[in-house]
Symmetry: D3
Subunit: 299 residues, 6 copies
């Protein structure tokens, strides 16, 4: 999340629109990842006939990542009253026409592959990661929200919450290269902002403060790592490259490159002079060393 | 939760039956809320054709809130072995014949609308809130349980847990005007009692103490607020208007209008003379100020 | 979990294969439990016609526990792109040919019945317990993983995570007589090992340490009890008969028959001379007394 | 078909309404047939576990014939855009409130049982005869048509035609005790009238004369038998107790108790003095003797 | 069917491609019909809430006739192994890119409306006429056949035959403004050709002559009317504006504007000097007068 | 049909059981055809990605023809109250254990390939021919009927009639190498017998004579060809190698190698000295030359 996100936000309408065409880099990235996914799916279909039908219908019969993802999301999120064809159409229309959406998808696939040792391939993430899928669907809901198609955006949120147990408000802003690992139980509120290259584990809450409306949810800076079960409440800033320990309950601002742990969370090294780390934890994914360290402080 | 709930419970059979007819107030409330829901759905159907089919099938084609809700629950909770028609019939029969059930539904809709700033309309809650839907379905399961139709009640519990990731035992007693916000991961045990006007966030557990049967789950008084991820274990009493902080682990009685936070939870202000607050936290929904305060105590 | 599990593991290929035939004890156990299940289902079908169709299709029309369970899992876990017939075939082939798999199923049914006071019958567990069902499906995924059918194993994991909100890596090793109670939100990583007669509550995480591969998840000894919401991270050993308190965050080895509680978790009685208990907590299921005791230590 | 049907029809609105309550005879008939159906279904469920789930869901879980039939029709005729719950509701509302509809159903069940030697039981007809099911659904469509709910009536006609390959216009009037045997390919036009105790084989057309509107389809008297593949075109009268040979093409009035055969159809015995028979062919179901006889005439 | 169709056919590849853009007339026609359909659907949705969901999902939520039709066909023809999203995509891609396909659809809607007195609106035909729907789907299958995507074309034929009981080989050529009335049981062989403005009733067969391949099915000229149950076998020519009586079995060429009736069919007026009629029977739809006339000849 | 079939039938129980094992010829035939089917499906999957998922799920993921066919039939014939898994199990159990059933399937595939010029491959028949599929399902229903599992056999008949519009009583006996071409509208009664190498077109009825039970349906000899729309009524014998013209209505015995045509049907060449042909029409499939010839006789 660039620093600007942490300043009072410019209304969406006032922001410069994205360039009309994807950059060469984006195009190459998308092409590369899609080529990989097809190669992986082809290899898996050959080695495992029982899965081949699934792989052909979800990946190999499609001419682009946008189509494959739209098909998969449409089939996952449909219900007897929200048909797969309708959802497929909705997703396809969004992903086809909005290259920054696709670039975010590609960055998320890269993130899962780079940071999660259990992620054995891009196609594994595309097909099986509920956090990845929930995030892509939320981005489309977010687009609908910004187009003032709010009832539809909220209906999507509800389907995502039912199907994936991931509940992200369509108004929440999510950056690129985000990894929702395992993802079950993630709750992200309406005015939350999540920066780029953030990693968020399951059962994480970015929650509000009460029944008043307004800007009331956390702002998560670029490169932050939030451990499993952490609860962050209120319009607090988690600075770039900060770490939040598993199970922490955070109600305070956390400065960049520092670590907060515990219930209630405190800064490792102390409030006055918190210890700073060098690496970007959202990318290095070191979940535990800092907690051990902190435990050392207090035990 | 009236004090009587906290005393050894009279068996259901011995309790006075509800009046045969809804009161004028109940009738008007139901009429008002249903009229609102239809107006909202009509407005949304007009502005969003992609959602109109969903809104007509779930709301606008129905002649009453009971029918709309039964249809929606039947379609959400059905499976290939428990057909939607069977569940629809079951829900419709319960809601049609039992006006206190309907009054509780109306009170829950009111609660969501009043307390959750993200709840933009009654229909948004009716259609999209898994906590609301799980709670209504549990009330029907509870009715079946009390009619000694226990295998069916347990099958419903299982469907609710699969579909909504909300696991409330059918024997648990739930008051009116209850808000399960986000709701994913809520677990409520067999002998738990939840009073009126309670607000419970996601990942909250009202759990038991072990493998012995008997009365072994928490009793939550009226107006209580339980923060995200709180775990309350055993037959403890959480007094009227108490607050339980997010992420707390509570194994003690919490007196009325006091606050418990932390793992293990302690009373803010201390065990001997806990600080009392004025407002009803289940309604004011102040999730954070008290924790900050408490943090101040211990950091 | 036998001690051998805690030693560097022999590759699966090198382990002695299970005996070709089930022992008499296993056969009798399976027969006994299946006979009970059918009797329970028949009783319930008679008393509750609305459930009879469900009970006949899932239990009473089948000639064995393996068929009933395969049918039920196939119908629960199928999707529009992974058909029930395919999954049924897959499960049936696994359960029919692998008697240790069936013996583990039977032991799990026994465990639920013995330890969970809300479990009123074997059929209640078989039909309605998502933790039980997720565990049986994971065992089949584990078998596929060991047969190098990894894409299929991962697809199963994804379906289990979508449907039950239980996310167990197919490579994780799970013993017999395991109870996943409520189960929503359980996450178990790739190199985790869970011993025999373990009880694990909902929202429990057995997680990794970061983005490096290798042996990085907890090893849970036989008879351990892990309370709701506990997070155990890294390649730590939780010794036989240990208890982990609800909501704890554990990053340390926990010696046999000791108790760890809190965030971060500490041993009850202190690191140097932790208090030892006599009972097997995974079986006695005492979730709270030790925490109260510990609370006493620190408050 | 009473003679009055053959006279210029009184508009539906002008006809005397049916008595408000079923007669004792109707009540007893319905009770008798429903009791039989349940006994048959129970016997079959006991002898054939693989069918028990089907029999419980369609018959044994229901408290009345109206509910069982509505459930079965709702599940047979539903589609992804016309949900089973909606259709169930529609059918149940019609059958519950309209006892002549139910009496016609009972008479049709009696007719199949009495006239079709392959009909082994009432439940066999109720569950498996597409002609019976299409006819019951058409009666409901007819009721909707008369209530000026024509788009819905036509949508039902379309579903019946898709599912059963039986295409009967909702405006067509059908008497009681009618047997559509095999039924595939039956087409009945908008202004056709079918009397009581008529038997109609598969591939029978009661068609119109061209593109002009108005009264343009056949009127079939009581007790008529129409053989397989017969085509009757135009506003012709087939008199009471007449027979139409298989494969005939009929464009003429056929007097009561006479036989028409051939393509184009001629009266057996000649136009001037056709041979009259004694029995009611719609009930005796003699499909062939008369044709042989006729063949004798012309070969 | 222009005379050229009756000459040895030029291979598809050699035919001049259709113009790249629809003509103004086609555009206006499509626009007019689509506007009508939406107005009809809106009116029906308002008057019949039980059908509104269906009408919104199939018509009112779509931005074009091509989308509405593709959605409806995709949902009608899908199966558990050929998903609606896949079929929707296939249909949409064909209809969007091929304006002559859309023009044929519009002409067929016009034909049903003009010739069938039971066709009360364009939307009635679009939504409910299996003959119309089967014909549109066949045209897409025909396009696939010509693109050498034969396995897919044959799979579509199979679905159309299962769902609509209409079995038209994808290689058959069908003109514009064709009405398949009722349609159940229609069979059209591989080398059949059907001209423009033809009307074909149900159970009509355009069949082959035996097991030899090659050009072996009927060629039906423009404006022909084929009555219910007629069977036309072999590579015979049914001249422009000819009529074939219901139930006829035709193995001979039928000259333009003449009538063939009977089994085996003969020309009305005699082989040598058949009677000629003035009107275009495929449009006037006079099914019966000529047969009566003919009956007069032979009785 | 061997002559013995035409004699009073020995009860099934008294017939010699089939040999326990398939002959080498049967084994090789099955192997050959299955190998072909897989090769065809693989070729089609490669050339048509949109169909690959279908081909993998129905053919390429299966290890035998019996499994592939059982899967396909289970998915085609299932309904919301008769699940695909149940039907799959039923079909698989029949085909796996009964090699004569499989040999008949193979002979039918051979017949379609040899006789129908539109049948481009074995897999085309297996996947797309409703006549083939209905016949295989009927054979399983027949087996159930003979095992006194009549309610299940009748439920299957009903599903086959709904899904394929092919209505064959489960008691009817059908030989090997039978081709039901197009098949829509075929009706075959309870006591009908169909010999080997018979070809039957669509809309053919083998019907009964009235409401009396007993042996009342046609017996069709080996090698018979029955044209489209022919109706054969009563316990008549159609001798080996006879032909029945399209649209004929047959109520008489037809001697071997003779031809019957017309309504009512007469023997070509006259009753006394009918013309005999040399070829086996069920195999040569000459549908028309004989009718033309006959037409010559009578026009």
């Amino acid at each position: 999340m660039p620093a600007s996100e942490l300043r009072p936000q410019t209304p969406a309408a006032a922001q410069p629109p994205p360039p009309l065409q994807p950059s060469d880099y984006e195009r190459e990235e998308e092409e590369f990842v899609w080529t990989q996914i097809k190669a992986e799916a082809r290899r898996d279909a050959e080695s495992e006939p029982a899965l081949a039908s699934f792989l052909y219908s979800t990946v190999l019969s499609h001419s682009s990542l946008a189509r494959s993802l739209s098909f998969h999301l449409g089939n996952k999120l449909c219900s007897s009253t929200l048909l797969s064809t309708l959802l497929y159409d909705l997703f396809l229309s969004a992903f086809s026409s909005d290259h920054p959406l696709r670039a975010a998808t590609v960055a998320d696939l890269r993130a899962a592959r780079a940071r999660d040792p259990a992620c054995v391939s891009f196609s594994h993430c595309l097909l099986n990661y509920k956090g990845f899928l929930a995030c892509q669907a939320q981005r489309v809901a977010h687009k609908l929200w910004n187009q003032s198609r709010r009832p539809l955006a909220l209906a999507l949120q509800s389907r995502i919450s039912d199907v994936f147990a991931v509940d992200i408000h369509p108004a929440a802003k999510i950056g690129k290269g985000v990894l929702f690992d395992h993802a079950t139980g993630v709750v992200v509120g309406e005015t939350a902002v999540i920066g780029n290259n953030v990693s968020i584990l399951h059962h994480v809450t970015l929650g509000g403060t009460g029944k008043a409306g307004g800007d009331r949810h956390p702002k998560i800076g670029d490169g932050v790592l939030i451990g499993a079960g952490a609860t962050i409440l209120g319009n607090v800033k988690i600075g770039e490259g900060a770490k939040i320990g598993a199970g922490s309950v955070v109600l305070i601002n956390v400065p960049p490159r520092t670590t907060a742990v515990g219930n209630p969370a405190r800064l490792v090294g102390g409030k006055e002079k918190p210890k700073e780390h060098e690496e970007v934890p959202g990318e290095s994914m070191d979940h535990t060393s800092f907690i051990s360290e902190w435990s050392g402080y207090i035990i």
